[in-house]
């Protein structure tokens, strides 16, 4: 799934769900109970029959997993391994044959300033989008919590932007941000702030920031709802007790509410980051990596060079590097947040 708003939304639901088991995704893994545990814990004499039936039950259970497993292997695992293999070749994507060139692709990538620029942008967009979206969502959830009767209406209004595809939003924003006749600059000029009117998508010093901004500009509908539900599930007795003890709003938030949310925040941020590494739609539509190379991200670079410039082997190598970056940064960030969470 690569639609940004949806994959973030997906991860939020998952994140909320997994939070309950106390931590990161892997914590939910089955614990690897001993193999002969019986399916139904009953008395000793029937245990033999149950165990036998369990053994056959085991195959049935595997059968349950089979369809999804097959598709998953074919669509995810196998191509990933093939990609690894391709990364050592110079295939161009259309010729029937190619040669192995060893690590030449990797050398080229790792010594290319253009690539490191793409890595930098990927990190900015990935981390930035995760942090900003979660911050905005939390803020909006806090606000929604306060509007009382109108909550339903506002909740819907806040969620609606998440229904629009990132591609469409970016396509329209691109036009609104046009330096010469876009609505944003026209508004700024008419309102008396002409110096503020900038070439949002063409000024190399701000363009990545602008892309980040537009990407985050969906108010994170799903995340907001999750946080809202979390907020509302904080037991009233606790907040009341805190107030009785003389705590003001900020202290209540910091000592009562926030610890309750910390777990959800960790998981949401982790999964939002994973979605953030592969942001593509907005980059492609808003700037196509330009001006020059300045706003390229790794995902875009792979599509452009590997796919569009007939360098499939090279593109695969870049994809593998992207994969490594994702793993390293996700694990590191997750570890950091879990530590903070324990302290909270």
């Amino acid at each position: 799934m690569t639609d940004q708003s949806a994959s973030q939304g997906q991860t939020q639901v998952v994140g909320a769900a997994v939070r309950l088991s106390g931590g990161g995704p892997l914590d939910g893994a089955p614990e690897g109970a001993p193999d002969d545990v019986s399916f139904v814990p009953v008395g000793p004499e029937r245990e033999q029959r149950r165990t036998r039936r369990f053994r056959s039950a085991r195959w049935v259970m595997l059968g349950f997993v089979a369809p999804a497993l097959v598709i998953y292997l074919l669509m995810v695992i196998v191509p990933s391994i093939q990609s690894l293999q391709l990364s050592f070749t110079n295939w161009d994507g259309i010729s029937p044959d190619y040669e192995y060139v060893g690590v030449r692709n990797y050398e080229e990538i790792l010594t290319s300033g253009r690539f490191w620029n793409a890595v930098k942008n990927t990190l900015i967009l990935g981390l930035g989008s995760a942090v900003i979206i979660n911050a905005i969502s939390l803020g909006v959830a806090l606000m929604l919590d306060k509007v009382g009767r109108w909550q339903g209406f506002f909740r819907t209004a806040v969620y609606l932007p998440a229904l629009v595809s990132g591609f469409i939003l970016a396509t329209v924003w691109k036009y609104l941000l046009n330096f010469n006749f876009g609505a944003v600059n026209t508004f700024l000029r008419d309102a008396g702030f002409p110096e503020w009117a900038r070439d949002w998508l063409g000024d190399s010093s701000i363009v990545v920031g602008v892309i980040l901004f537009i990407t985050c500009f969906t108010l994170g509908g799903n995340t907001t709802l999750i946080y809202l539900a979390n907020l509302q599930s904080v037991p009233q007795e606790l907040t009341e007790a805190a107030r009785i003890d003389g705590a003001n709003s900020r202290q209540v938030f910091r000592h009562v509410t926030w610890p309750m949310l910390a777990g959800a925040v960790t998981v949401n941020m982790t999964l939002a980051m994973i979605a953030g590494w592969t942001i593509f739609d907005q980059v492609m539509v808003l700037t196509a990596g330009g001006p020059g190379f300045v706003s390229e991200t790794m995902a875009f670079f792979i599509y452009k060079v590997g796919f569009g410039e007939y360098r499939a082997g090279f593109g695969s190598a870049a994809a593998i590097v992207l994969f490594l970056v994702v793993i390293v940064s996700t694990v590191a960030a997750n570890a950091y947040m879990r530590k903070r969470e324990i302290q909270a």
Partner: protein, 453 residues
Amino acid sequence: MHDATTRAGAQRRRSAWLAGAAGVAVAALALTGCTSSGGDGDDAGTAPKTTIRFLYATGDETWNSVVDAVVEAFNEQSETTTVQLDPLPAGSDYATALKTMDATGNWPAVVDMRDTLTYINAGKLAPIPESVTELIEPEAVGSAEDGNVYTVPYSALNGEIGLNIVYNKDYFEENDLEVPETYDDFTDLLADIKANGDEPLATAAAEVWPSDQLWKQLASPYFAEWGDEGGFWTAAQNGDATIEDLREPLQELLDITNEYVLEGWQSTADAQTTTLLVNDMAVMATSSAGIGRLNDINKVDQDFNAGLFIVPGEDGSINVLKNAVNGDTAGGLAISSQAAEDDDQYASATEFLEFFYQVDTANLMEANGWLAPNIVAADEIERNTSIPGAEDYFALLESPNLVWYENVSDLSTFSAFNTFFRQARIEMQDGQSSIDDTIAKVQAEFDKTVAAG
């Protein structure tokens, strides 16, 4: 056990639901089969005619209507062939779209090509027969290394003659300005407009390819000098020329960009230059569409008096790249090898292309606002001069100062290098990289391209 009944009931409902869902899934999958192959089974009726597909880019409205008109006329008069239109998504990267089409192994008979050399080398194109090429003005047709012609032009937008400056004629009149005849005239013109307090020139770089529009006009006098040695890129490959030799035009590009180009060019899309011109936000704009841009302006604002010219060299000559096999701005029509394997398809494709270069077809194109290709019988064509500025374009074709030159490269990954070169130029124009760094960077990339063969 009273649960059993409700459970059984639930199970029945459950199975019904499951069956329903399965039915939907199956139906959906079946439908995918139908829709994705959609269009193929449509002309079952009249059996003996061969159907061939014609794949083309749809960025240009005028071209779209021309294709519709020409194909319709062809289908009506042909007894052996029906041409089926296959419009290709132009989007922002035609080359990518072609590549994915190739990945299907789904080549149509007649194709609007880009990155032609790559495909020729991969054996995907068939030679075009003489019966077609003899209809076309020899200067407008280029042959590949093996002597065969693989692409033929679809408009007199030959080579890069469509790269020009579109300007506001009324403004020129009101301000006593003239079309430049030498390069110095051009820089004076820019300075004059600026002195008036107006924006001289608008260019577009939101997409990468329009960056050629200004660059090529500045660089062509320099490229033309290498015409005798097989073109600049060939000389560079042999080590006789380097990117350093392009320093002067690069500097000119940088200076013009810094002093005379409308702000915001980095994020302006080529399609938006029409808006800028008709709103008097700039007096001139670069374009690579020849008559297409004029057409667009006319559609939007009938009162706008547009004209066009090409930036001349220092000596007043107008250097234009001839349609090369690896032409990366203009395309050409080609016949795919896949279709050529079938005699009927090949014969049909040939018949269509022969029709394409008839005088009547040329008239039909002109009537639709399109500049017909340079056929041998060009004098007989009725030119469409109703669009403001069109007469400038025809005049260009006949200009005595017009000099054609060649600049082919037979490197297999040249198009990737070219994209890099374009992006590097934009980087330089944007001030992110100095000329020295840019030249070094581009040279390094070129060397790498040569090494990769």
